[in-house]
């Protein structure tokens, strides 16, 4: 295969960043980097596998999925409604019991948490042989929230050599989910749709839920957020905390991109199949001229979209198995020769003619400022010529 780097106008693999900037490998001009904004701190999993805080306006290279193959993480705004996410000794965390069950016993700062600090609390649950629904030992917190999708999440591990079967309850407070707590830290999460304004996070043993009779576990990082999926951990210590939304836009200039032909390549995964528009686009800064890939409001679909001089040229979708899995997309655009390659396969073609005008910016949105991309990115490249099928296949394989 020919040297594709020579053909690229922009190459971004997320290795270099600074407050406010995500730098490109190509072009080398740092002033053509992505502009990054987040008006709050946030957390990420670092290369040691530990959860750490990242200051505001600093992009996050996140190692959640792999300690050797991280991704650039972009998330929407979210608020952790649990006021004490790491301190389970607080009275807001209700230690409940019934029947044969004993109230959970909390020991503060008992073990090393996923942040690498001695900040995880020990909680010992015991239902003392109880077998009925009346026999439970439960740690619970209820908060006020809005109607809609909410997600509970929490980090748990066993303090002993034994695994424990426990119940983790959805935000409605109804359906228990069985979880197996091992000696390794795991983050459990569960989503439900609220119709009232009170939501809850519960962890328990209960006689009729096939849980263990006893559990000696460490817990840390409880989170309840008004999203249909769990986002990165938002620490709290006495009140709710909000991680602001992230934006990453404005890479390149008119010299970086070719109006006549090219390829937009993205190695990306969605955070969730949450039925929202999430776009990545080369554009002229408006909705009139743009070459875009986006997740859609339809479940598990990728959308190739080209609009030239104010006219929609192609707006075509392709179903995927699971958009939360990484896929390599390459959108070839050339008048009369449009194609979408996905993971080594030409998935869509189109022969419509077009004349794009003034492509000058690459953004993690739909090109006009809205429909921001929230997801994970391993690489994003723009080539200034329509690559051959062999090249597109090899690139996306």
């Amino acid at each position: 295969m020919a040297n594709l780097y020579n053909k690229a106008g922009l190459v971004n693999i997320p290795v270099g960043y600074q407050e406010g900037f995500l730098y490109n490998i190509k072009p080398e001009d740092n002033t053509l980097a992505f502009r990054f904004n987040r008006d709050s701190a946030a957390t990420r999993v670092n290369k040691e596998g530990l959860i750490e805080e990242v200051l505001g306006d600093k992009p996050r290279i996140d190692y959640t999925d792999s300690l050797t193959s991280p991704s650039f993480l972009l998330e929407p705004q979210s608020t952790n409604l649990i006021p004490y996410s790491e301190d389970f000794s607080q009275s807001s965390w209700v230690k409940q019991s019934s029947g044969a069950g004993s109230p959970p016993v909390v020991t503060s700062n008992y073990s090393t948490s996923p942040s690498g600090t001695l900040s995880a609390d020990r909680v010992v649950f015991n239902i003392n042989g109880g077998t009925t629904s009346s026999d439970f030992s439960q740690l619970a917190e209820s908060v006020t929230s809005n109607i809609g999708d909410l997600t509970n999440s929490i980090f748990i591990k066993s303090n002993t050599a034994s695994n424990y079967n426990m119940s983790f309850i959805d935000p409605i407070g109804g359906t228990p989910t069985s979880i197996v707590v091992t000696s390794e830290w795991q983050r459990f999460n569960i989503t439900s749709t609220l119709t009232t304004t009170t939501s809850t996070l519960k962890l328990r043993l209960r006689g009729n839920e096939a849980t263990s009779d006893f559990a000696d576990v460490s817990v840390w990082g409880a989170q309840l957020e008004e999203l249909p999926y769990a986002t990165s951990y938002i620490p709290t210590a006495g009140s709710t905390a909000t991680r602001a939304q992230e934006t990453c836009n404005g890479a390149g200039n008119a010299s970086t991109f070719n109006d006549s032909e090219g390829v937009l390549y993205c190695d990306i995964a969605a955070l969730a199949d949450d039925l929202t528009f999430r776009g990545i686009a080369i554009s002229d800064g408006t909705s009139n001229n743009r070459v875009m890939l986006r997740y859609r409001t339809n479940s598990n679909q990728i959308n190739l979209f080209i609009r030239a001089n104010g006219i929609n040229i192609v707006n075509s979708t392709k179903a995927l198995t699971d958009i939360t899995n990484y896929s390599k997309f390459a959108l070839k655009y050339k008048s009369g020769d449009i194609a979408l390659w996905i993971d080594g396969v030409e998935a869509k073609t189109n022969t419509n003619a077009f004349t794009l005008i003034g492509l000058n910016t690459l953004s993690f949105n739909a090109g006009q400022g809205s429909d921001a991309f929230y997801g994970k990115t391993k690489g994003i490249y723009v080539f200034n010529e329509a690559l051959t099928d062999d090249e597109l296949q090899q690139l996306t394989t």
Binding site: A2, N3, L4, Y5, N6, A8, V11, I13, V15, G16, Y17, Q18, F21, Y23, I25, K26, E28, D29, N30, T31, K47, K58, I61, Y63, S66, T68, S69, P70, S255, D267, K378, G379, Y381, Q394, L395
Partner: protein
Amino acid sequence: MGLTTKEISSSSFNDMISSVDRRSEYVENRAGANVRLNNFLTPYTLDDKSSILNAPCGYSNGVYASLRPVENLGPELVAETPSNLNGWIDARSNTILSVVNNNIRATRLSEYAATIGISSTGFATVIGKTYEVKIIATKNNTSGSIYARISNNSQITAPVFNEQNTTDTISVDSTFVATATTSFIGVLATAQGDGDYIQSSLMSVRELLQPSADFDFTRGSAATRVTKDGLIKNVQILSGELVTNGDFEQIGSELVTNGDFATDSDWTKGSSWTIANGQASYDASGVSPITSATTSIVSGKTYRLKFKITTSGFARLNFTNDSSQVLFQPNESSVNNFSSGEHTFYLLAQNNSTALKIFAYNGSGGTSFSIDNVSVKEVGQNWVVTDGWSIENGKANIDTSEGTGSFNQLGVLTIGKKYRLSLSAAMTVGRVKFQSDAAGVFIFSTDVSNHEFIASSTDVSFRRFDTTTSGYIDNVSIIEITDDTDLPRIDYTDGTGSLLLEPQSTNLVTYSEDFSQWTSGGGTITTQSGFLAPDGSNNAIKITSSDISAASSYFALTGLNLTETNTRTIYAKTVSGTGTVKLLSHNSNTNNTFTLTENYQRFEVNTTASATGLTFFYGVDFRGGTTLSEVIIWGAQAEDLSYATSYIPTNGSTVTRDADVCNNSGSSDLINSTEGVLYAEIAALANDGTSRRISLSSGSDANRVSLEIDETSNRIKVFMNGGSISAAIITFDASDLTQFNKIAIKYKSGDVSLFLNGTEVATSTSTNMPVGLDRLNFDGGNGNNDFYGKVKCVAVFKEALTDEELAKITSTTQQEVFYEMRDRMLQIDADYYEFGDYTTRLKKLF
């Protein structure tokens, strides 16, 4: 040829860079040069094939250094070895020579002179030839200097080569040109006492057999560049700020624990003391201390002491160390009466201490009181403060009624080097002298701007000049400079280092930074100076309009002699946010509306309508429907070129930067007239309709292989001819020659080809071969058609490489990209992580 992947060994690069180090006064961009080498050499076993290899890293006044060839060295010429006494000479006949731990040592005898030394026996040298010299030596007495020398006599006087250190050690790896047929190598130490010694573990001289392929470089004027930290600087400025804490604003961490008495802890209370309600109270029942352990307080250093007193009478206090010795003397007295209120003093510690012990007294006016907010923090870090000087409120104060000592920062300067001193000063009486100037004391009483001096001491030192002197100095700044005008420029405008070669140009804007000389249109404009500028100074100015549509709403320099075809530039940014404004010319023009952001950009217009007048340079013209009402500007320039060149500062008149000329690399040994390759990674400054060439030649254009960026935009031409001038044999139109391109010309009789960025784009079967090629020039080989542009690499091969090799060396390689990204991120101090999958992802693009 079967290509193999071969990492360039660090030793190869180190050999080259060490060689450049020896030949160059200044070396920078090492990482960038290594990037070029990795791109150029790594994947292919070509590193033995290039005869000339250049990437910007080393230079001196008049010389632009090449990495290859690395000089070959002849045999060792010094017969003696430091581990053996045989042959060594007592240079001044006043020592006993011995060998100690493989060092040849000279120990002074008491009755003789204080300068002692060791010399080799004479060795044969050839006048005019260049030799490498290496010396390592130490002396045991801290007094005096130590010298490493090459001389024509065994007393080591009248040195041909001389380096001096005021420390106790010296290490030399350099070159000298012989001036006699017999030379001596030796070391000396001055001001040595009886029994003191100097010793050396290495004295070596070897002939440099292989000449370098350095370019001759001339310009004859100052010039600016973008430094690796992104600042616009005159290339004659050789250092960043050398004075530490020159604004005296540095303040240390709190040394007192629980100084606000929030809890009844950390303090050891005498019988008359209690701690309650957030304060410590003294009941005046007797002399009694209250003590807090502190981080170490050092005698002679300056501290800020703060505390708050509440009393109806006086708090009579003595601040001592843990041994009850005086620690601080407010008001020059160890015991003082303090009334209610906040008290702040800047004081020299009189003794060392690890505690603050406050004695309270009930006599001599002392009453009961409470004390709170006790604080001790170090100030004046890095300065040595003696009597008569004090550091207070961010200034260094002098008051000769308090003493006549000096005020120093140690180890800042190198004796003999040139520096530029600036500071703020205001004396109410008398004057201060700066006593590090080899020309004599420099006396001042007000602000000092750009006083140039040769250092006579390693220390920055001030002292009173008049018997009675009182006032302050502030913002002390010293940078190293040079008067040299033939310094090549390694420019980092695009984030990576490249040699910048520009034509002559004149800035017609007579006050490019002094905006007090500029005028506004009237009352709608206000200005505020002191904003951070692209050169790191605070010389940028904010221009604000109260009514952007008012006729007076502009800011301009008038009385100029501009033309319609001038290229005008200015640096500008917003105060906050993004917006549009007209810059550089009158608002009636249509090509001067720009979008400004919070980051500096250099804005440019290339033509100006004559109707707007040619005596005005409009820095900002708010009129015309743009959005901004305030902008920050700096660095105005207008030049008679079709494109903007590097910034040329002016201050009262036009200033001309002369043309860069870079020629005469190589020799007939390094360039093959029969076949070879000329390689260049270059970018044009502009498509300006001129011919710009890089050539192998015999000194004229009759015999040459030339690469030309043609008068026609983005056109490359190849010239090859022998004995008489002929037309181009290859013409090719590239996409954009103002971007960096990798270009290789293979020349061989009947087999000429042009490779561009990995692809053979044109060929020729010309057999008109040159003869006598002996130089590589950034011109047409005849002194004309100078190459103006940016150069990341040039190289010469003495054989015609294969097509496969040519394709590879003109392609961007994975290694180049990898190292360039790392280098770029390190330069801007960005967060940068090379994770395991990074190279895998990158590899797919190659």
